[in-house]
């Protein structure tokens, strides 16, 4: 039992934090609102650091690490509202392709090419939420690779397709950097990656990983909002003193901080459970996502309230954090979705 990150993991996280503090300011996020793009110079920097391929096997150009290594980095992406699809590409598509590759007899040439593309940063991927295979997919507009779920004769199937072969219709989002897209495609034997039990296995693992990395992104967002709000509450004066000296304000901020404190180990523990592969990873992922969603939504709520009218303006940066938080809180299962999933799982073991 040793529930902590290693010094190496902390140093890697800190290096990413430094890079992103320079390369992903709120002005940069605003620029991405005007011209959303999947790949940027910033993406190339992250790829050169090995981050896009962090969870890709070394044989395919990655670092061969796990979710525990990746989660603190995704947290940093959340902290700066990173516009590029790092969590989906590095945290979900890479490991999913690696799963598919281990199950495909003799390997699949497309999958290997895509794994290498994820590792090198040459492609970004969008992954459909298996619960909503027909809804717009985050990151699909402008992605290079689409990993999609479709209903097949033996249950859900997993398909992959180079985006060039599947026209994508953009769908507007409150957060334009989400780049929602509706792929206009027809599943075909050529795009089939897995069916039957293998597909079910891949899809279940993907849902858990996506819940956890999305949870990690929400942790970073919540921390950033609470920090900004505490700073604002120290500066803003009313009745002749900082509003942060009033208990009504303190208690709002403290309540969100307590939720965040307890969401963190839930996300880290779920990342470890998935890497470790023993125990009930679905339950761990559900606790992680439910707690992270609730923490980020509470941080959003109190941040807007403590900022007051200025927080409701386009000029104030807060809305960049709010909009991403609201989107991610619902993505890959809301807190309520995960509580429902958990209760079903708890009941399933009763006689």
């Amino acid at each position: 039992m040793h529930f902590a990150f290693t010094e190496t993991q902390i140093e890697f996280r800190d290096a990413v934090r430094q890079v992103l503090a320079k390369e992903c300011t709120t002005d940069d996020v605003r620029a991405a609102y005007e011209a959303p793009a999947a790949r940027t110079g910033r993406w190339d920097t992250l790829a050169q650091m090995g981050i896009t391929g962090l969870a890709v096997p070394e044989a395919h150009g990655g670092l061969g690490l796990g979710l525990v290594d990746l989660v603190p980095i995704i947290e940093e992406a959340g902290r700066v509202v990173l516009p590029e699809p790092l969590a989906m590409t590095a945290g979900v598509a890479g490991p999913l392709l690696a799963d598919v590759n281990t199950t495909a007899a003799g390997g699949n040439a497309h999958v290997v090419r895509w794994l290498e593309g994820v590792a090198s940063g040459d492609l970004t991927a969008a992954v459909a939420d298996a619960r909503y295979p027909r809804l717009p997919v985050a990151g699909a507009d402008g992605a290079d690779l689409l990993l999609l779920v479709a209903d097949g004769p033996d249950g859900p199937e997993l398909h992959g397709i180079d985006a060039g072969h599947a026209p994508v219709v953009s769908v507007p989002s409150l957060d334009p950097t989400r780049r929602l897209g509706e792929p206009a495609w027809v599943p075909s034997p050529e795009s089939l990656l897995a069916s039957g039990a293998v597909a079910a296995w891949c899809i279940a693992r993907t849902a858990d990983r996506a819940a956890v990395v999305t949870g990690a992104e929400l942790l970073g967002l919540a921390d950033a909002m609470i920090t900004r709000t505490a700073e604002y509450a120290k500066d803003r004066q009313q009745f002749g003193k900082p509003i942060g000296s009033f208990q009504a304000v303190k208690h709002l901020v403290a309540g969100a901080q307590v939720l965040l404190e307890f969401a963190r180990p839930a996300v880290y523990g779920a990342a470890w459970a998935i890497d470790d592969g023993t125990g009930d990873t679905a339950r761990a992922a559900s606790v992680a996502k439910a707690y992270a969603s609730d923490a980020a939504l509470e941080a959003s709520r109190i941040s807007l309230q403590v900022h007051g009218a200025i927080g409701y303006t386009w000029e104030c940066d807060l809305h960049l954090f709010l909009k991403r938080s609201w989107a991610l809180a619902e993505a890959w299962g809301s807190a309520a979705d995960h509580r429902a999933r958990l209760i079903d799982s708890l009941l399933a073991e009763k006689p």
Binding site: A254, L342, I343, L346
Partner: protein, 392 residues
């Protein structure tokens, strides 16, 4: 030091678990078979149980062997607690001593004090109560007015004043209390932490029936109570610092182990499954709160392991203890509130011949956001010391 993250207990820890489980299976009384520890008879029955625990060195596993423990670490203590709650063994009548005073005594006590007090604390031969709050000093603890006056002739202090809400105060043999030794000093200074024999002349105890009708706490009156110098814990005038160490134990890792809530959450899921059979519509309306309560307990377990690892790696627990206290007190309430909703009209059944564990647990949980410093005070601590907001 670069150990990879690992949430498995070691083989040795699992062996320790097996040993604890086997002992508890053989010795623990049937669940809820002892009278309430807040009655005179129940207090003695719980004392006898703790003596049995101590006889085989299970009462204070994390203490050094010379004081009755097994010298194991915090993780083994958590494992023991998991087994203790799994066995539904009795509540700990010596919790104020074992979980709160003892960590403080290990940090601040003299060797003589440790030799004198820890072994009988471990065996429950001496049970401790806490003498902090006063009628006019609750959340504002630094406002206490009970005084200790120097008596050079006798080599000690003469205590006078009144304490209240002293948990276990109705029946305890000893009290750890805060008294003002320097009335001129600024509020937080001039306080001293005393160890008081409740049999000393001048101590009067008035039990206070709690919300459940039992005497879980008491008022304590001190009229010229002499306490010798060797019963001061820590330095004279530094009682606030000593008390804050105790408060850290009360809010942080020591008082409320996660197993308590994990076990209650498991029982809640059983209750939910029963309710699905009897009244499926009612059950489904509570599904979300049952899941939330289970998650609250699980998040507490993970956060405890996270914090325990930090402590084992040489870190400390600061204002995070306040976040911890808010979380465990809310978790206890969310579990029990969900249970009462599942019970519906049966939730109010209580009285002679009725076993009402959920209602009893709910009544107990209601105190959580109040004792150990109200949750409002804890939110101030989180805001001021974790986030740097200015004092009001």
């Amino acid at each position: 030091m670069d150990r990879p993250m690992d949430l498995h207990y070691t083989d040795a820890q699992e062996a320790f678990r097996a040993e604890a489980r086997s002992w508890l299976d053989a010795h623990a009384p049937a669940p809820r078979s002892l009278a309430s520890l807040d009655t005179a008879a129940g207090f003695e029955a719980h004392r006898a149980w703790e003596a049995e625990l101590a006889a085989d060195r299970w009462s204070v596993v994390s203490w050094p062997e010379e004081f009755g423990g097994r010298g194991v670490g915090i993780l083994e203590w958590l494992v023991f607690e998991e087994e203790y709650w799994r066995a539904q063994a009795p509540l700990r009548v010596s919790q104020n001593g074992v979980f709160l005073l003892a960590p403080t005594m290990f940090e601040f006590g003299t060797d003589a004090q440790k030799q004198r007090f820890l072994p009988p604390m471990a065996s429950a031969a001496e049970i401790w109560c806490q003498g902090w709050s006063e009628p006019d000093a609750g959340s504002d603890l630094a406002g206490i007015r009970s005084r200790a006056q120097r008596s050079d002739d006798e080599g000690g202090w003469v205590l006078s004043g009144q304490k209240t809400w002293a948990s276990r105060g109705a029946f305890a043999e000893w009290c750890f209390g805060l008294f003002r030794t320097d009335p001129e000093a600024e509020r937080h200074r001039g306080l001293t932490y005393f160890l008081i024999d409740m049999a000393t002349p001048g101590v009067t105890v008035r039990p206070i029936p709690q919300i459940d009708g039992e005497s879980g706490f008491a008022e304590l009156f001190f009229e010229d109570v002499f306490v010798p110098d060797d019963l001061v814990l820590g330095e004279v005038g530094k009682g606030w610092n000593v008390a804050m160490a105790t408060a850290g134990s009360e809010r942080g890792l020591s008082l409320r182990s996660p197993a308590r809530y994990s076990r209650a959450a498991e029982r809640l899921v059983d209750l939910y499954a029963d309710c699905l059979e009897r009244d499926p519509d009612r059950a489904r309306r509570s599904a979300d709160s049952v899941a939330q309560a289970w998650m609250d307990a699980e998040a507490y377990r993970l956060n405890t392991l996270w914090t325990a690892t930090r402590v084992l790696d040489g870190g400390s627990v600061g204002p995070e203890a306040s976040a911890n206290k808010i979380h465990w007190s809310q978790t206890d309430l969310s579990i029990h509130r969900a249970a009462l909703d599942l019970l519906g009209p049966e939730a109010e059944f209580h009285g002679d011949g009725v076993d009402a564990p959920w209602l009893d647990g709910f009544l107990f949980a209601l105190a959580g956001p109040i004792y150990a410093g109200t949750n409002e005070i804890q939110r101030n601590v989180v805001a001021e010391r974790m986030l740097g907001l200015p004092r009001g």
